[in-house]
Symmetry: C2
Subunit: 182 residues, 2 copies
């Protein structure tokens, strides 16, 4: 049910489903993704539940837009979610499961696996670093004097980079240890 709260959080300013999907791309994408096919029905249900209100706004191109707003109840639900404390759920990381069983393939393939893994996460890290540079250039208050609404997003960005760097470091470590064993 967290998508509901993510949508509520993103509706600081009114937006359509289409808008929200865009907002996902350049903010929470690294720890939360959602498709339009999931967003549209959920918005409808949230309106029915009184968490959102909507109004139709004609569009310059395409069908009329349905622009949603947070209601008072919506805001309450959001803060309740945050006040409940951190929601730490068990995650599923398939590439870690693959590492766990990597003894089933031969040693060149094993090394290759870590090389690819490292490349993947280097690419992810690069994306975040570019994002950071953008923010840095756009706002001289970056990072510690930022207003609350961007300071907390910045914290998540920072953890993302730290996490990716640990994984890259670990890949290197694995590669040297594998070579030492061969």
């Amino acid at each position: 049910m967290s998508l509901q709260f993510v949508l509520l959080g993103m509706l600081r300013e009114p937006a359509s489903g289409y808008d929200l999907k865009q907002r996902f791309q350049n903010s929470v994408r690294h720890f939360w993704a959602a498709e339009l096919a999931q967003i549209y029905p959920l918005l409808a249900r949230m309106e029915k539940d009184g968490l959102l209100s909507s109004e139709k706004v004609p569009s310059t191109q395409g069908p009329t837009r349905k622009v949603y707003q947070r209601t008072r109840a919506g805001f309450e639900a959001l803060s309740q979610w945050l006040l409940q404390g951190p929601e730490v759920r068990s995650e599923r990381v398939s590439w870690l499961a693959q590492v766990f069983f990597l003894s089933h393939i031969d040693s060149t393939q094993r090394r290759q696996f870590f090389v690819e893994l490292k490349a993947d996460f280097k690419a992810h890290l690069g994306e975040l670093e570019r994002l950071e540079q953008g923010w840095q250039q756009d706002d001289p208050r970056y990072p510690d004097a930022l207003p609350d609404e961007t300071f907390f997003p910045q914290l998540t960005l920072r953890l993302g980079m730290m996490k990716y760097r640990t994984i890259i470091e670990w890949c290197d470590e694995c590669l040297t240890r594998l070579e030492a064993r061969d």
Copy 2:
């Protein structure tokens, strides 16, 4: 579909659904979880697909056990999965989403959030550290002279600890930065 491959990987030696669930608890639990209600039907389907074979073995207590074995095709499927390279999928981390929107609650509650988060991950780290100590005491070859079947699991354990330590470090950083802002 990764659960399928995790099961194939765990079936290095024959096991029942119930056994497999136990094996989850003390090995892959930190990056993959599964309930019996998901395991039983999946095992049945995998047998139908020719990846597993089963035989009924009477039990000392409870109903007769259904013990599964990997077939040749099952082994092929597993190595194919590993040879395809790392499966890096987008993850959903709800507590990070909460941090992203944390500006919606007041500053004491915000700090409280990070305190709880840190405690949660310290507990997780503790579990892994205890697991490591056990392995260390059981096998003098730990960690670099271990046989392949336990060396790779050990790598995943190590990354788990590294990841949790970065998160804890980040929590501390967030707390000092928040105090500096207030």
